[in-house]
């Protein structure tokens, strides 16, 4: 190991800080072999100087004391050496007035970076590099067909596994679809035959019809999939497009479904339209003269008996179906009873078109449908109970995702009361199917990372991810196909997938120290860790997202990464110079999530928001990676307070690693015992939720905490370590 330190003087650093003193610290305390100062380190000459240090002087570990690690990443890109960064710009000069306090802060950041540097290695890329680039698509509906075709057109092999004997899914059963093109006025052809044809003729796509997935084992780049017909296929990534089932209208006793053939659900109406236009009613085969559509049948239900959510497509679907009648015979009365019309996409145009065609929309809540076709409802505009006598009633029931087994509760029936059947049959320690986000939908975060499930290399598309219509499913499938391709490429190079895309580090385990406590295998948010027959953890690096939650969990600290470990952070904590109690200078350790809290602090710096000079910030991959030993060590070292800044957790979590901040909160809730043992106040360790937008709030929180520390006084543990 040969270490080199480069200190930048640009962006006001040299004006506000004594860089000679920093250089001296790097040399004497940091024991860095080669220390250089440069007035403008990210300039071509500055970068050249670093390059020479690496190439000519043989530096293997480089410390850059300049700006935040999130800045100038292109200039400071040295993949062949280990790089540690001391954040003197956003972390010191932009948030502090010139003076001794700022200088001490900078001194500490240089000490910390030097300490971290020596405990880092250049990541060598995960050894678990399956080379298969093939994409398995589970489900042959619109979403699955689109995903396979998109992957094939991008040059990748695809395999479609469909449980039915024919392709097309729900869309193939439709008479017409909601229009996807301007002027969005009339129902359009479904386009399914053309899509099926394109898929069938594509040489890169193989089909397995009438087949299901019996077992899925392995990891991205090397999934080994056994099909129900006994065949085994090797694939690199999986798109699960298993679609939805219609909510069973028979569960809606008050709507008399099943008591009369003239009360149908939306699928039933499509079947009637496919049979004949003008549509005839099933009971007497007479042409329908008065049809009523009941929206939100068993949806958006707050009684707890039916689906609590909106399926998104049903309003536009009912408009389309009303047009089946109106386009054939404008004299047919079509009434849509709704509580709120929701027409995403270009649905407003379609809605207007339906109104122009004479479809009557009535805001009301249906209480009952009699078997003779009397629809009883409360008109919410006129505020009265009333009824319509219809020849045919259509119930707009919702989408129930075909998401397989709920791995948290494997015997739980689905919303239709059916016994769940696993879709993927994953050979994962954490369960046979994908973890769910809400209401049985397999997603991990609607807004920040769609398609990303909590199983790396497996992406969901279409209504299994969230309720949606055809247009959205097509978009969804395209996105998922590209994600799947990305996953195979990353896996082949041993790189991480989202959100640490391209990260080459991977978990290293010292198994001889493992006590088989299972915390890592249980807590891994991505199910990356299995167990071998001796109950030791088996890390599947390609499934790993590098959040280091396992590292935070491990009580015996045997899990680490080449460039991020219990030791690399612990050494930084210990490197900070803690003033003795007579100096009355508090020191507060901040462990900040690198995804939200740390960027927010950087932006606070960018906006020159000032905050306490007592803080020393260490970015962590995720709050889930915070090992409790860091907290204990910091307290023992004499820090006066510790702030953990992580993402929001709970139902509407913002954690990029889904469970990290929740696990951290859980672990830290037990920190009080430690504090009690050390005879310290509860306020010495606090956990705060922070979002990337908390640019103004975070400095305020920090200052408030600094005041709290001032109030409770300095830590009594100074000088013992």
């Amino acid at each position: 190991m040969k270490t080199a330190a480069y200190l930048c003087g640009g962006c006001g650093i040299a004006e506000q800080l004594d860089t000679a003193r920093l250089a001296a610290i790097a040399e004497r305390e940091g024991k860095v072999d080669l220390v250089r100062e440069h007035p403008f380190l990210c300039s071509a000459e500055g970068v050249q100087a670093i390059r020479e240090g690496i190439d000519k002087d043989g530096a293997t570990h480089v410390m850059l004391a300049a700006c935040s690690r999130r800045a100038k990443t292109e200039a400071f890109y040295f993949p062949d050496v280990a790089v540690a960064r001391a954040n003197l710009r956003e972390g010191v000069v932009w948030i502090q007035e010139k003076g001794e306090a700022a200088q001490e802060m900078a001194d500490d950041y240089v000490r910390m970076a030097c300490a971290e540097l020596k405990r880092m290695q250049v990541p060598k890329a995960g050894p678990d590099t399956g080379k298969s680039k093939r994409v398995l698509v589970v489900g042959g509906g619109i979403s699955g067909l689109t995903a396979a075709l998109e992957a094939a057109e991008a040059g990748y092999e695809a395999l479609i596994v469909e449980k039915e004997a024919a392709l097309g899914g729900w869309a193939a059963r439709l008479h017409r679809r909601i229009p996807e093109r301007a002027p969005f006025k009339d129902p359009a052809e479904t386009g399914v035959p053309a899509l099926v044809d394109a898929v069938t003729r594509n040489s890169r796509i193989k089909l397995q019809l009438g087949t299901t997935v019996a077992q899925t084992a392995g990891a991205p780049g090397r999934f080994r999939v056994t099909l129900s017909n006994g065949r085994t296929e090797e694939v690199g990534a999986i798109v699960q497009a298993s679609g939805f089932s219609l909510y069973d209208a028979a569960r809606l006793a008050e709507f008399s479904y099943g008591k009369s053939p003239d009360i149908v659900d939306q699928a039933g109406l499509e079947a009637l339209a496919k049979k004949s236009i003008p549509i005839r009613r099933p009971s007497d085969n007479k042409e329908v003269k008065q049809v009523v559509f009941v929206q939100c049948a068993g949806q958006r239900d707050d009684s707890g008996k039916h689906l609590p959510y909106c399926s998104g497509h049903c309003c536009a679907t009912s408009m389309k179906q009303a047009m089946y009648f109106k386009d054939a015979n404008p004299a047919v009365d079509t009434v849509v009873i709704y509580t709120d019309l929701r027409v995403p996409g270009n649905g407003e145009d379609f809605y207007r078109s339906a109104q122009a065609k004479g479809v009557t929309f009535t805001k009301g809540k249906v209480s009952a449908v009699e078997a003779d076709g009397a629809v009883k409802f409360r008109d919410l505009i006129l505020d009265e109970d009333t009824q319509i006598k219809a020849d045919l009633v259509v119930l707009a029931t919702g989408q129930v995702p075909n998401s397989g087994v709920n791995i948290d509760n494997p015997d739980e029936p689905d919303a239709n009361g059916a016994k769940p059947i696993s879709i993927l049959n994953l050979e994962y320690r954490q369960g046979s199917d994908l973890p769910r986000l809400a209401h049985g939908f397999s997603d991990s975060h609607f807004i920040c990372f769609p398609y990303e499930t909590r199983r790396t290399g497996i992406y969901t598309a279409g209504p299994v991810r969230r309720p949606m219509d055809i247009a959205q499913a097509v978009e969804d499938a395209t996105g998922a196909a590209l994600k799947a391709i990305q996953a195979t490429e990353n896996a082949a190079l041993g790189r991480a997938a989202h959100p640490r895309s391209g990260d080459l580090s991977f978990p290293l385990v010292r198994l001889d120290g493992c006590t088989q406590c299972k915390r890592c295998t249980v807590e891994c948010p991505f199910g990356a860790i299995d167990e071998d027959e001796k109950r030791y953890p088996v890390f599947n690096e390609s499934r790993c997202r590098r959040c280091s939650t396992c590292m935070g969990a491990c009580p015996v600290r045997v899990i680490s990464f080449e460039n991020y470990s219990v030791d690399s952070v612990g050494a930084q904590i210990k490197a900070v110079g803690i003033p003795d109690e007579t100096e009355e200078k508090p020191r507060i350790l901040i462990l900040a999530c690198e995804n939200d809290a740390y960027p927010a602090l950087d932006m606070a710096g960018l906006q020159r928001v000032k905050y306490s000079a007592a803080v020393r910030v260490i970015p962590v991959r995720c709050l889930g990676s915070v090992n409790q030993v860091w907290v204990t060590d910091a307290l023992n070292a004499g820090y006066d307070g510790i702030m953990l800044l992580g993402c929001k957790h709970g139902d509407d979590y913002q954690c990029h690693f889904v469970r990290g901040s929740a696990l951290a909160a859980e672990r830290m809730s037990k920190i009080d015992d430690t504090l009690k043992q050390l005879a310290l106040e509860n306020e010495r360790v606090i956990t705060c939720e922070a979002a990337i937008t908390d640019i103004a709030r975070l400095p305020r929180l920090i200052d408030e905490y600094a005041q709290t520390i001032e109030r409770i006084g300095l830590s009594p543990l100074k000088g013992f370590a």
Partner: protein, 199 residues
């Protein structure tokens, strides 16, 4: 006629001015919220449109709601569906009046009738006459009382030569009153034909 079967809606579309717009209402309620007279009338435009769709013919046409419209056009400006709500209100009022269903004693309706007959007689509005007709609409005694109450305004108008008492006897006429009357009769005839009235 049964509820929600659209018969009345079709009638309104065929026979009421701008009535074909009623089906395009999306029941957002912005008109109801925008109307400065909102609290003072029986049904908001939103509700009137829903009643039409629900087939409440009698209730709509005998209502005084559309007579309360002051033509401020606030609703028209704000309607996200660009419905000519003010025109529809007047259209409905006219239609109800012609069918003889409009409330007889509704002040706006009575004033409108007075105004129209005053105007069409000479082709010009005789303001003095109009004012007297309005004052004495509820009988001689009430008219005298109103007349007395407004005497100061009247005298000042006289002094400022803004009111000429001789207009009562020798009203101004337009150049070709007969021509105007013929024109209006023709317009009525066309309108009647279009809206399906026999007279």
């Amino acid at each position: 006629m049964s509820a929600y079967q659209g018969d009345f809606l079709k009638e309104v579309e065929a026979r009421v001015e701008e009535g074909e717009w009623v089906k395009m209402c999306m029941q957002c309620g912005v008109c109801a919220g925008s109307c400065p007279f909102g609290p003072h009338w029986e049904h908001s435009p939103q509700k009137i449109f829903m009643m039409i769709r629900a087939g409440k013919r009698e209730e709509v046409l005998t209502s005084d709601a559309m007579w309360m419209c002051t033509s401020c056009y606030n609703c028209v400006v704000r309607c996200p569906r660009k419905l000519p709500i003010t025109q529809i209100m007047h259209g409905l009022a006219t239609y109800a009046h012609r069918l003889g269903l409009a409330p007889k004693m509704q002040p706006t309706r009575r004033f409108s009738v007075t105004f129209w007959s005053n105007l069409t007689r000479t082709g010009r509005v005789n303001e003095l006459k109009l004012v007297l007709q309005v004052y004495f609409r509820n009988g001689f005694a009430a008219g005298l009382k109103e007349f007395w109450n407004m005497r100061r305004v009247g005298l000042r108008l006289l002094a400022a030569k803004r009111m000429n008492p001789f207009e009562l006897v020798f009203p101004h006429r337009c150049k070709d009153a007969k021509g105007i009357q013929r024109m209006l009769a023709k317009a009525c005839e066309i309108e009647n034909r279009k809206r399906g009235f026999s007279q």
